[in-house]
């Protein structure tokens, strides 16, 4: 692998020598030790950690289209670990730790930018419930600050502090170590590093069925032929139910649309990631290119369409200008949608499936991006050792039957409300 560095960049500039491929483009082999279905962030991260941490290098990642064509390239790039419930706090904390060194580990600048994330608080009660969250974070060594109105005004001056504001800002809960990362770079960085370790990344390879021997899954049928493997993991955000169905599984998941929005590029306007949850849902940050990147609620009906509808566009725009009134004249450049696996408790699933040889990674709702490194790590652990990492024990598939639900929103078995 040609190492990336400022010096290498300079050398290439001077010599004009072309850069080599970032990841190899091999033809699929007939058999691998392990197959990961889904060349998104989670699938590629799983392959990378299988090779790097668990010594399994005979791995293929099968991607229906081009790598990163799913949700990893469609999200609003927020990375945070402000989770409150047992299991979730530890998992996302671990993920954030991996984020911190990810660029270095992958030798690929994923632009993880922990510039700080602030959840807006709009009532005295909200301050108390935020305090609980903040306390849990602090007790796990995760930085957290409770900000009052004056501190908010100083940090984020362009929010609406006027007396006419519909939802007056009482304060904020800040995670100074949260931020954003360049989503596509995460895909490419994992792909390049995994490929270097021997992982075959097979693009344009759609899985059309599973090969079964006895009760076991021993491989997959694909648009590029049959590929065998002792272990098959699926990491196909949004489409977990579809792959599950091929294996005869019925899962606690509904697929929903989440839209995302980006404005034209502007000179720096917003230094933090801002979240609003109250009457509606809204989050916004500014990308390095200058676009205001924002989003809101789900479209609220099952869908695989990757395109959303106007009601959410209006709601999100109304919240945008109501929270940040200078955005009125800023123009929306593009909006799109991703298909989210929404589970029945709003938490993900990293689990053995009821079918031998098949492992599940899915149900990320709309929090999958920040989980990418920990998800890959834990899934690799599960596939390599056939035992869950302690961090993924709470996220097994059987938790619903046991009643061990992890419901951060407290909204119950209604997936669209999480």
């Amino acid at each position: 692998m040609s190492r990336y560095s400022a010096l290498a960049l300079l050398k290439h500039a001077i010599t004009g020598r072309p850069w080599p491929r970032a990841w190899r483009d091999p033809a699929p082999k007939e058999r691998y030790e392990a197959i990961i279905v889904g060349g998104g962030g989670h699938g590629l991260a799983t392959a990378y950690y299988l090779a790097k941490e668990f010594g399994i290098r005979d791995v293929a990642v099968l991607e229906k289209g081009y790598i990163g064509s799913g949700n990893v390239g469609r999200n609003t790039t927020i990375v945070r670990s402000n989770y409150m419930l047992p299991g979730a706090t530890e998992f996302y904390d671990f993920s954030l730790k991996l984020w911190n060194t990810l660029a270095h580990d992958l030798n690929f600048n994923v632009m993880f930018s922990p510039r700080g994330q602030i959840l807006l608080l709009h009532s005295p009660d909200a301050l108390d419930s935020a305090a609980r969250r903040g306390n849990i974070m602090r007790r796990h060594g995760i930085a957290a600050r409770l900000l009052d109105r004056a501190a908010m005004q100083e940090l984020v001056p362009h929010l609406d502090y006027r007396p006419t504001a519909r939802f007056p800002i009482w304060g904020g809960l800040m995670q100074p170590t949260a931020g954003t990362a360049r989503h596509d770079a995460v895909v490419w960085g994992y792909a390049r590093a995994a490929s270097e370790l021997g992982v075959d990344i097979i693009q344009n390879c759609e899985v059309t069925g599973f090969v079964r021997q006895g009760g076991r899954i021993t491989g997959v049928e694909t648009s590029r032929g049959r590929i065998m493997a002792a272990k098959t993991g699926i990491a196909v955000a949004g489409h977990t139910s579809r792959l599950g169905e091929m294996a005869g599984l019925r899962l606690p998941i509904e697929s929903h649309l989440l839209q995302a929005f980006v404005s034209e590029p502007l000179k720096p306007l917003l230094d933090y990631v801002i979240g609003f949850g109250g009457h509606g849902h809204f989050y916004i940050s500014q990308s390095d290119k200058g676009g205001m990147v924002f989003g809101g609620d789900l479209d609220m009906y099952n869908s695989y369409a990757q395109r959303g509808n106007l009601p959410v566009v209006r709601d999100v725009a109304a919240l945008a200008v109501s929270l940040m009134p200078c955005l009125g004249r800023v123009r929306l450049l593009r909006h799109w949608a991703g298909v989210m696996d929404m589970t029945m408790d709003g938490s993900h699933i990293i689990s053995k499936s009821p079918v031998d040889g098949l492992y599940l990674n899915g149900g990320w709702c709309y929090g999958g991006f920040k989980a990418t490194p920990a998800s890959g790590w834990c899934f690799a652990h599960l596939m390599a050792r056939d035992q869950p990492d302690p961090l993924s024990v709470p996220f097994s598939l059987d938790r619903f039957a046991r009643g061990a639900i992890v419901d951060e929103a407290g909204s119950g078995p209604t997936p669209r409300l999480h």
């Binding site: 990336y4 305090a131 362009h158 000179k267 200008v321 004249r329």
Partner: protein, 982 residues
């Protein structure tokens, strides 16, 4: 001079001069100008700097496809960055500024980036900025500089002072684009009686006709347009919206449009949401640039733009113009330009063009060179000459010029169709993507389908108009859709041979031919990967002119056919739209509606400090003098405990449950029994979700054999109402029950305290409030001031208490009577804060405990669950993890040291064990004036049975507080209920 206004011609009004400014210089244009045409007329060539290299940029186009001329309009709170000069209508006093340059446009220090261009190759930032060290701090450091260097214009920091509004509309046929095709489609459909909306982005109708010099269907183009426009605007069933951009097509025939209004309207923009039975897309086609060295220099323009400036705006972009083409369309353009008296040379890459086409150009005075291609533009801040080569690769010559046109073929505009998921189909002959088949009633026509002749465009419009009429049951003369094409000679696309220097594929984002080549080498060779890696197509023009050229470059590099590569998907909006417009008028204080209690005005008059909870404005506390909330709520609590307090509870959810099966419904919904409840009695009930988690609590009153009055928490009123309806409609359709929200029908007040009985007895004389006649949980109907009222003896505060309801219009009257009565008894009003504190003292659960995760047992309410009947959630609550003994359960907490404070959100743990999740958390706290110390309730693993009497730490690191607390039963005051029954 590099640009000037012609003496005559164009659709501008030379009698209406307009003053405007660019970078502080005052300039003049005319009504009918765009900012771009006026700048060109004033000889302004350099108007912007590019995104990455800060290269000088001019005006490239005459429309929405502009890649280069981005300026900032206005100043202060009305600043609008990143505006296309080519579509900005000139108005008197328009203020334009260059952007993304420092110290100024002509001398921009950022241009130094060009020196390191080889370093700044595609995706260079992914390869560096990672060290020193492996922490993200390094990137945070570099990022600051990168962020400042990136971005284009500067947005205002001030609130947008303008108004926006939305407009909901429906129609039979929505026609998008008012060129010859769209106009004819609208006309034919309207004549057949359809309700039509015709939308045009430009301030003038006509589309391509506006720059057309030839006749349409034998009539002078301008005359044709005038007649058509007049009849469309005069038709009662046609709405013509100019200055309106259709930015998105959504499901089921819904389109989003943004209309720009004139200042007199008092509204800046209007957001139209149109529901159309059918849609016709007539958005025309866009000319593609050619890829050659320095193809971004000011003065290098699309040929169609040069023609438009001459024909529509009477502006010559230069005095010596060279036009490079690979297709027929440039001949008419060159001829028009030459006819305007400008020295014009036409350089056609094709060698075999003969007959009427070249003859026409020559007779117009065009100097024609066949078989020549551009290699490199010469000049820095403006093009001075063009280096050309022979198509066969032989070196050519350098031609002096001060403006240049390029015509690389045409791309039909199908963004809106692409938004619908319709894949375009590549047509090799026309070198264009043509619309694929739509499964919805959306029809593309005109140049948007690759029809190049104006007459054919009009014909396709009539065919589409008739088609729409027929589909909706009207009659119209049938017409066939003409075939695409219409050139005499085939286009010769994709000439990359002799490129010298930086040749831009995506001009706005500074992505060069070399960048694309490099990305493909690195494996980013799928269109979407290329786009994401190089940012090609991600600029404000979203790849309008670059997307097809990029595919051609990939095809050349990969050596396959262009249509095997795939395409990127266009997403809404078609062109950027302001967020303010999308928000419309329902923003700021009108973001959401507000709910007011029937007593609202009386409360405000009285001085209540209001707080919004779940859209309701509710009295938080009633400050006396300069009291803070913390002072006021303690005083208000004392009023209740010592005399009588009154509280507005109109916001509680109220549901009339009527019918022979009303009791059965409640029995199934609540964990406890209601069918057996006696008439004239109320009962506290808890309902679960299907999954066995507590949903809500409240009291239900039995008013009659077939009638219950259910109350819910304020927060869950809507949810419970919808839940009952869902159960009745989806699961138990046989139950004869009607449920109706009566929240708005009644005004209610809680009257609590030792003197509550005394107070109510004085106001409601026809009822006997004595303990025997009106026992705890009794319900009575009486009259207050001649108005019927209903009263239940229920208590949230633990005091002798009643809830009294009167019809809403009498709420204020009731409130004033209660307030007078309470005041006379040394009592008074209490607000939300005191309400919450009173219930904490009694250990009643509220919002913080009903968090959507707690079970009945967690809240200490397990004994309420009936064993005699089945109820919702009854099965799933038995799941093993919901039955564990170590689940967090409701406990009371008091500080070990009396004077100490602890707060909600503190974590309960054993001392010395101050990491992790601990044993539980504090949900609600209050200072208790009755007890003289703070009390709280919380959820604690193992609950009272494990921790009763023991000491724990309430750990609150985020507020820097640590308090030792003792675990006690969650009833701090009057656990025997003496006051309640008093």
């Amino acid at each position: 001079m590099t640009g000037f206004r012609l003496k005559s011609g164009g659709a501008i009004d030379r009698g209406k001069p307009l003053g405007f400014s660019f970078d502080g210089r005052t300039l003049h244009g005319f009504r009918g100008d765009t900012l771009a045409s006026a700048l060109l007329a004033n000889g302004e060539r350099l108007v912007a700097r590019s995104f990455k290299y800060h290269r000088p940029r001019g005006i490239m186009s005459a429309g929405i496809e502009e890649t280069s001329a981005l300026v900032t309009i206005g100043s202060g709170a009305r600043t609008i960055p990143n505006t296309l000069a080519s579509t900005e209508e000139l108005v008197e006093g328009l203020e334009a500024h260059s952007q993304h340059c420092w110290p100024n446009l002509r001398f921009d220090l950022g241009a130094i980036n060009q020196l390191s261009a080889r370093l700044f190759s595609a995706g260079f930032y992914y390869k560096t900025f990672m060290g020193p060290g492996n922490s993200p701090k390094s990137w945070l450091f570099y990022e600051r500089f990168i962020r400042r260097a990136a971005g284009l214009g500067v947005a205002s920091r001030e609130p947008d002072p303008d108004h926006y509004e939305s407009c909901e509309a429906s129609c039979d046929l929505l026609v998008i684009g008012a060129g010859p095709a769209g106009i004819e489609a609208a006309r034919v459909a309207a004549e057949a009686g359809l309700d039509v909306i015709l939308v045009e982005r430009d301030f003038a109708l006509g589309g391509g006709l506006l720059q057309e010099s030839e006749a349409i269907e034998g009539i002078n183009a301008r005359g044709w347009l005038l007649t058509r426009e007049r009849s469309l605007r005069g038709a009662s069933n046609v709405r013509v919206l100019s200055r309106t951009m259709a930015f998105g097509l959504y499901d089921h025939g819904v389109a989003g449009l943004v209309e720009r209004l004139q200042p007199a309207a008092g509204v800046r923009e209007r957001f139209w949401i149109v529901r159309a039975k059918r849609i016709v897309l007539a958005a025309g086609a866009l000319e593609r640039p050619l890829i050659f060295g320095n193809n971004d220099r000011p003065g290098v323009m699309l040929t169609s733009a040069l023609r438009a400036y001459v024909n529509r705006w009477g502006v010559a972009a230069g005095t010596r113009i060279v036009i490079a083409t690979n297709n027929d369309s440039a001949y008419a353009a060159a001829s028009d330009i030459a006819r305007a008296g400008i020295a014009t040379m036409l350089l056609d890459a094709r060698e075999d063009v003969s007959g009427p086409l070249p003859e026409m150009a020559k007779s117009a005075g065009v100097e024609l060179r066949l078989g020549g291609v551009p290699v490199r533009a010469i000049g820095r801040q403006s093009v001075r000459a063009l280096e050309v080569a022979r198509i066969d690769g032989k070196a050519g010559e350098t031609i002096d010029c001060d403006a240049m046109g390029m015509s690389g073929g045409w791309s039909p505009t199908q963004h809106l169709l692409s938004q619908r998921g319709v894949r375009p189909v590549w047509n090799e002959t026309l070198a264009a993507f043509l619309p694929g088949e739509a499964r919805e009633p959306v029809r593309c026509i005109g140049a948007a389908t690759g029809i190049w002749r104006t007459d054919d465009c009009a014909r396709s419009g009539r065919a589409a108009g008739a088609e729409a009429a027929h589909a909706l049951g009207r009659s119209a003369p049938k017409e066939d859709f003409p075939a695409p094409g219409g050139w005499d000679y085939p286009i010769r696309p994709w000439i990359f041979g002799g490129i010298k220097g930086k040749a831009f594929v995506d001009i706005q984002n500074d992505v060069t031919f070399g960048d694309v080549r490099q990305a493909c080498h690195e494996g980013y060779d799928a269109p979407e990967l290329l786009k994401r890696y190089t940012t090609l197509g991600m600029a404000t023009d979203q790849g309008r002119t670059s997307a097809v050229n990029a595919l051609a470059v990939i095809a050349k590099l990969r050596g396959g056919p262009l249509d095997a590569i795939g395409t990127t998907t266009f997403r809404p909006p078609f062109a950027p739209v302001s967020i303010g417009a999308l928000a419309g008028a329902e923003r700021d204080q009108h973001l959401l509606p507000t709910r007011r209690s029937p007593m609202h005005d009386a409360l405000v008059t009285q001085g209540a400090r209001m707080l919004e909870t779940g859209l309701w404005l509710r009295p938080w506390f009633y400050p006396q003098g300069t009291e803070t909330v913390d002072e006021a709520y303690l005083r208000e609590m004392r009023l209740v405990r010592e005399a009588v307090g009154i509280c507005d509870v109109s916001t509680l959810g109220k549901i009339a449950v009527q019918g022979p099966d009303a009791g059965e419904l409640l029995d199934r919904v609540y964990v406890n029994a209601f069918k057996s409840l006696a008439i004239g009695k109320a009962r506290y009930g808890v309902m679960l979700r299907d999954d066995g988690i507590v949903m809500d609590d409240g009291t239900s009153w039995r008013l009659g054999e077939h009638e219950y009055f259910m109350t819910t928490t304020t927060a869950n009123a809507g949810k419970v109402m919808a839940w009952l309806e869902e159960l009745l409609e989806m699961r138990w359709p046989d139950l004869r029950v009607a449920v109706t929200s009566v929240t708005d029908q009644w005004a209610g007040a809680s009257v609590a305290g030792p003197l509550a009985r005394d107070l109510l007895q004085a106001l409601v004389a026809d009822l006997d409030f004595s303990n025997d006649a009106f026992p705890f949980m009794g319900v009575r109907e009486g009259s207050f001031n001649g108005v019927p009222c209903r009263i239940a003896r229920i208590s949230f505060s633990g005091e002798l208490a009643y809830e009294i309801y009167v019809p809403a219009d009498h709420g204020q009257e009731l409130w004033r009577a209660l307030l007078d009565g309470a005041t006379a008894r040394r009592g008074g009003a209490y607000g939300l804060e005191a309400l919450g504190a009173l219930r904490i003292e009694k250990g009643h659960v509220g919002g913080p405990e009903l968090d959507g995760r707690a079970t009945l047992d967690d809240l200490g309410l397990g004994r309420m669950a009936s064993t005699k009947k089945a109820f919702i959630g009854g099965v799933l609550r038995t799941r093993p993890d919901l039955q564990r003994k170590d689940r967090p359960q409701l406990v009371g907490l008091v500080p070990v040291t009396k004077g100490e404070i602890f707060k909600g959100g503190s974590i309960l743990c054993e001392g010395g064990n101050e990491t992790g999740h601990g044993l539980g958390w504090v949900t609600s706290v209050t200072e208790s004036p009755s007890l003289g110390h703070w009390v709280g309730i919380g959820l604690l693993k193992g609950g009272l049975s494990e921790w009763g009497g023991r000491t724990l730490l309430a750990d609150d690191p985020i507020r820097g507080r640590r308090t030792l607390v003792k675990v006690v039963a969650p009833h701090f005051l009057d656990p025997e209920g003496k006051r309640l029954n008093g």
